[in-house]
Symmetry: C2
Subunit: 206 residues, 2 copies
């Protein structure tokens, strides 16, 4: 099987895995169920992914790719506008069925491998970008001076709060897009009040 063909096949398998997860929870993602749903054999699954944890690690990696592609908005343009666009999207993503299922799987993994991968490709990748955007906003005067890393942590705390753990334990349903938008807006407004811009020249829009 040529390399690109195999890439495509893996994408199919992982898509089937996510379909199982989103439909029946991460408990529904058994190797047998995946083999049947993807039309693959056990032998292939184990040859390609090693074991069940490896499969989940691959899912984490794929999720990270998808997430990163939706985050390019942070790179350029008005940083505050970028944060305003990022907030709802990020919130919806981390409280979505996929991310929640991955979190549950990581919580159930005694080795911590999955959790480390999830954190590395998720939070640890996103927060520095947010800190960069905040630093640019501070440079422009759209936010008052301060430690960008600390401000980014505060923003994340305001935006996400404890929603993820509450989702993980099934205490709350997935928030609606409207809820995500409102919460993101409130988080950004609070960030502005915690780092109030100096008065004379509030911001640029270039």
């Amino acid at each position: 099987m040529k390399a690109d063909r195999r890439q495509a096949r893996q994408a199919e398998i992982e898509a089937a895995a996510y379909a199982l997860i989103e439909q029946g929870g991460e408990g529904a993602l058994t190797m047998q169920a995946l083999a049947r749903a993807a039309g693959a054999s056990m032998e292939t699954l184990y040859r390609w992914y090693g074991d069940r944890t490896g499969l989940f690690a691959a899912l984490v990696a794929r999720n990270a790719e998808d997430a990163a592609s939706g985050m390019s908005m942070l790179a350029d343009g008005d940083p505050m506008a970028a944060l305003a666009r990022l907030g709802p999207k990020l919130l919806a993503m981390v409280t979505g069925d996929r991310a929640v299922a991955l979190n549950r799987a990581a919580a159930a993994d005694p080795t911590g491998t999955l959790g480390a991968a999830l954190a590395a490709s998720g939070r640890d990748a996103v927060v520095p970008r947010i800190a960069d955007a905040i630093a640019r906003a501070m440079d422009r005067g759209a936010l008052g001076p301060g430690d960008p890393a600390e401000a980014a942590e505060t923003f994340i705390a305001l935006l996400l709060g404890d929603l993820q753990i509450r989702r993980a334990i099934r205490a709350i349903p997935a928030p609606s897009p409207d809820t995500c938008a409102a919460r993101a807006e409130a988080a950004l407004a609070a960030l502005r009040r915690l780092y109030p811009p100096v008065l004379d020249e509030p911001a640029r829009t270039d």
Copy 2:
């Protein structure tokens, strides 16, 4: 077995259960291991708790009792001082090994029973108390006017952030008491800046 004797025996069993959890993770809490550690029989465990989920529910209930006893500080005296004392304790509790293990167990429970119990006896019990304290602080002028419930949510978000889910997936170790204290202080300071007290008479101390 008389009722009080049985109460004491249950307390022993549940203490043994927590000891197992804190030592080897929630995966180490098997019914057999608990029976041996507590010197109890399978028959008794199943007669008293029904099944494994029932056992965890009992652990949640006991944890809630212990937590509530440490929260009486919110009732009286200076509300801001009460929040200042509560913050580090609450943060240390929800990121402690016990609470994290219960969260993991709830995440692994497909029925959501455990998660509902955990939320009801935990967050849903605490946040209204915090809102009450904030309302009193607003009345006294120690905080500026606003919606106490909303302010309580903000305080929780600032205090806890996403620490719980990161603990659950083993992305971070348990925070030290110093870290808890610093974070709680920062959260309260931020709350003051988001709800700045009016100038003339900042607070009372009665």
